[in-house]
Amino acid sequence: MKLNVTVAALICSLAAPVAHADLVIPWLSYRTGPFSPSGIPAGDGFHDYFSLLNERDGGIGGVPINVIDCETAYNTQKGVECYESTKGQGSLLYQPLSTGITYQLIPKGTAEGIPIFSMGYGRTAAADGRYFPWVFNFPAHYWDGASIAIKHILDLNGGDIAGKKITLVHLNAAYGREPIPTLQALAEVHGFEVDFVPIDFASSQEQKSQWLDIRRKKPDYILMWGWGIMNAVAIQEAANIRYPMENFIGIWWSGSENDVLPAGERAHGYKALALHRPGKGAPIFDDLQEYVFDKGLAAGTGEHAGTVLYNRGAYGAMLTAEAIKTAQEIHGVAEITPAMMRDGLENLVMTEEKMAANGFPNFGPSFAVSCENHGGGGEAWIQQWDAHATEWKLITDLIQSDKELINRLVREDAEKYAAENNIEPRDC
């Protein structure tokens, strides 16, 4: 009998918990596992911004926000488990913060009508809203990133980089291979040579042979699509071979404090793309201090505020909140559904005034999402690491990617995906 009770209790524990009547936003976090150094600050930023909205404004449109944390440890299977266990609770949208999980959720979310918002990651072709009505990856995606990095190099060289050698150091996975077609296309346009150096995640602690190779070939510029421990080791090795750091440019996922701090002083001058402003300059941090940190409501220690990934989490939360507001305006109801959430995302217009009103003045690019374009404006800054002051500094204005070329590539890839999976385009 006792055994039966235990078994029954265990089976109950297996079943997912049930719903609340708030604006439910699941957060697939990874505060443990190999990528926890990145997952912790991003999760803190995301949570803290919504805690701020709840504390200061009583939620959005009067409805409190309920952020559900679900730990994935960056593991795809756990991500699926999280999706299944949270979707029944009225989840408005998913932000997986992992390329692998995003790929899982794109078909599932599309089939079940829950939007996926992969801010600056995931499947690039999803920027084509005709084929991916439920997926959003604004304000810029990987191919924009590649184009922006090349634009920056063009700017440094007075517009002519013919014959220059550019090497891409990338994680040997879907994410790392994303920019390859773009770089090849750009290489044809601008006449530079491009070379690819893949690094397996399992051996990303030991990159000596790759960097010896780079040392011999002496590329003029190095781009990096790395993640986790690979970034830190690569920056260290680049410093070891005395590669000029200002010619080493990482994507926005290779440009956080975690990546440069282990190399200490020697990382000085390393550059990375920036989707948003680093640092604690924005007025939002005063509000966070007043309403969240001082009240002891911080999701983490609060010490990450102002780091790149914390700001990314907060910025993503702000965009989400704006999309919710847009949805509420369109449909005239406060308690929105996932389908309304999708409309909000699709009609989101991010202007400087809105950002300033939210306490994020000049924090990210202005852009407008549309039925066709789910990828935003494709703008980013370049930030540079100042090892003496231990802070990132923006060194350029917003750089616009080569939209003509990128849109063509996105369209081609989206059409290929649609052909493989029998998807009819929407009319836009």
Binding site: D69, A73, Q77, E84, P107, N172
Partner: protein
């Protein structure tokens, strides 16, 4: 009382050597099968299918496969993840190359492809033994994953290298792709589990299975009594890889729907399956299921308990999960070193005498 042999008279050898010689056992087995095939599909929902049942079933097949190799033939392998990748990628290639071929055949065929690959990587086992072999099979693991990552042909030259399953139907009902009903997902996995478990059970008690066990217990002695070690070991590798390949194909096509070699079939998966087999019980069909359930379900269960019921912060809960799972493994070992299957056997023995132990 419930479970006893009294009154059962067997008059022929086949009667004596059946899998469930005791009437109650047989009845219980059919009842469970009936519930699993007819009952569960009516009540299963998305969460139960995708997060609980399908993963357990898919991992059970992998564990069955490895158990044949490790538990019955005594060859430790850490290449399971790589072989699952072979199954998944050949399933993908078959499904896209022959869109009209029924997906069930695709999955079986990927099992055969994996069996061939398994034979190739099984050859070193003739020289190398024990933990050395375990580490040697890691070569297969890393090489295969590297291959699927590096050769664009395997992922049909897609930009990112991910493979996504196309939608396929069986009897007009979708079994792969995002629009699959949870019960269809569950049933197709259940079908494969049933067929393969039946196959495994009967193989292991045939002369083939006995030759494997002879090799496991002492290969030199087995050779002396006339077991051909080359044949037996390669057979074990082939059959085991067949199972693992099918589980990889199901893992990709039915369970996840989109995978990438290095993430979905990494070294962690190889270790995970080995843990399942050892914890469940080496050389036991039931143990494979028990081990898979233990490793897959315990974290989910603990998570729902700690986060869902007790509202712990997720990171503390996850770390505690690891601590609890680790402690439980050690505890089980100290109490019962031969895995969950042995625990179940002891329970049966007790049941036999219950409630009159004298």
């Amino acid at each position: 009382m419930l479970y006893r042999e009294a009154g059962e008279f067997r008059t022929s050898y086949p009667d004596d050597s059946q899998t469930f010689p005791i009437a109650f056992d047989k009845f219980r087995y059919y009842a469970i099968l009936a519930v699993l095939f007819v009952g569960v599909p009516f009540i299963v929902n998305d969460y139960w299918a995708n997060a609980v049942l399908v993963p357990v079933l898919v991992w059970s097949i992998a564990a069955l496969g490895l158990n044949i190799l490790t538990g019955y033939c005594g060859q430790i392998s850490l290449g399971t993840g790589g072989f699952m990748a072979v199954g998944a990628y050949s399933c993908y290639k078959l499904m896209t190359a022959f869109p009209d071929l029924n997906v069930v055949f695709c999955i079986f065929l990927s099992g055969f492809v994996t069996a061939l690959v398994g034979i190739v990587f099984g050859v070193p086992s003739l020289r190398i033994k024990g933990f050395y072999l375990a580490v040697a099979t890691l070569a297969a693991q890393f090489f295969l994953v590297w291959l699927f990552n590096g050769v664009p042909w395997f992922y049909n030259y897609s930009a990112s290298g991910q493979i996504t399953v196309p939608e396929r139907t069986v009897f007009g009902i979708a079994v792969t792709g995002p629009y699959t009903e949870p019960w269809a997902k569950y049933l197709i996995c259940m079908f494969f589990v049933f067929v393969l478990a039946w196959l495994a059970r009967n193989l292991t008690r045939s002369s083939v299975g006995r030759s494997w066990m002879a090799i496991r217990d002492m290969d030199i002695a087995a050779e002396i009594i006339g077991v051909n070690p080359l044949k037996a070991k390669l057979q074990a590798f082939a059959v085991s890889s067949f199972f693992v390949g099918i589980s990889g194909a199901l893992f990709f096509s039915v369970y996840l729907g989109a995978v990438e070699a290095s993430e979905a079939f990494g070294i962690n998966q190889s270790f995970l399956v080995l843990f399942m087999v050892i914890i469940g019980g080496l050389g036991s069909i039931f143990g494979s299921f028990a081990g898979a359930a233990f490793i897959v379900l315990l974290p989910v269960l603990l998570k729902n308990l700690l986060v869902g019921r007790l509202s712990w912060p997720t990171d503390i809960a996850t770390n505690s999960e690891f601590i609890i799972v680790g402690a439980l493994i050690i505890f089980f070992l100290i109490v019962e070193p031969h895995g969950l299957a042995h625990l179940a056997r002891l329970f049966k023995e007790k049941l036999r005498l219950w409630p009159f132990p004298h």
